[in-house]
Symmetry: C2
Subunit: 227 residues, 2 copies
Amino acid sequence: MASEAALWLREERSGRGPQPEYSRAQIAAAAVKLADAGGLAAASTRRVADAIGTGPASLYRYVRNRGELIALMADQVSGEYEYPQTFTGDWLADILALARQQFAILMRHPWMIDVSRSGAPIGPAAVDFLEQALRALEPVEVGGRVKLEAIAMMSAIVTMFAQEALAGSSTSTDGQEATAQFLAHVMTAGRHPHLAAAMTDTSTPPLEGADLLDRVLAKTLTGLLIG
Amino acid sequence: MASEAALWLREERSGRGPQPEYSRAQIAAAAVKLADAGGLAAASTRRVADAIGTGPASLYRYVRNRGELIALMADQVSGEYEYPQTFTGDWLADILALARQQFAILMRHPWMIDVSRSGAPIGPAAVDFLEQALRALEPVEVGGRVKLEAIAMMSAIVTMFAQEALAGSSTSTDGQEATAQFLAHVMTAGRHPHLAAAMTDTSTPPLEGADLLDRVLAKTLTGLLIG
DNA sequence: CACGACTGCGAACACCGATCGCATAACGTC
DNA sequence: GACGTTATGCGATCGGTGTTCGCAGTCGTG
């Protein structure tokens, strides 16, 4: 329990001693750049350290461990949202607008998909997002807990779609290829008729991604909040 | 593209040479045991290797890389499902039964939460699950693609609830604690009124987990499949 | 002015995933 | 049954990772 002050409760500068050469924002920016280019693994403590031109050990003056570094990155990126001063009053339209922003952010920073799925700690920018989402949901007449659940569900769905969108576009992972190869084999083997039928189904042409996301979110959210 | 045969298309024994000392099942079982006890990170190639009493290099005769080892573990655990010979015909009840099994498996093997969220490659047992889920959804009159989407959504929701359930029970991660500490501070600061209100909301008493899961799944799935 | 809190950082530790090369064991073939 | 082909087991090793230690240097405060 003597875990000392958590990242977001520590002051960036603590008064005494020489002034730090870098700011959290600078470090986060450098790390985000690395991760954007080479995935989350590319933002290792060492690589980030010498991206800002310092030794591996120096980073630990700003951050207790790599988890906190990633928290810094996540919060920096969560600062990219732009919130309207006033919402329209149409809660579904308002929250869908937020969802679309989240989707765009995930597409800009694919590593953020991994981060948001692994239950990243919440920082100031994430708190702002929650506040705004709740503000958008103000017209809905259900308890706050239910709204928070709905927001979490929304995030999960957006993340899921972002992953799928990226999996389709970028160069396929070897895992993807292995799965495709194996599925092809399974379907020809004929012992999974329902699966085979479902995968060759053409009755519903693959709807455009963004459109599908809107539709699914609308159904899910109305189901959770008014159904 | 010369990635050779994928894991599940390779034979376990390839005819020539001495017969392997261990089977995939044995290795997977050992790795699962380690991961159950100490998390996914505890199932490192080295630790798994000397858990079965061999050197670190020997594992690579059975598996091309750690990803394949994890795929082995995931599929072994996916073999824990038990499917009825015939479904009841009530598609919602039938698929909810599958969802509950998935939830139970995730509670038994918490590391599986991470695995299933990081888009693990699909193996034989996972294919069986898909087949059975589609069989349960047979009465529903929508295209196969939509059904697959619904199943993916169901898995995502179950995974989300499993994570939340574990976060509440087990000893809190330091990340969890940091978040709690920070949220407490944010709420007393008073600049996020909606959030503060939502988190102290007692209008809807925290519903029992399993019950909540059922409810949310029912709403979401009916929304996606018939709405 | 001096003390002590703080910073930068080279060196090191304990791991990790993965590869190489060699001795050894089993199978198909003649 | 001998042989060559083909796998396997595995010690040694490489490059990378997160993290800690200890020391020299710097700045604010008493």
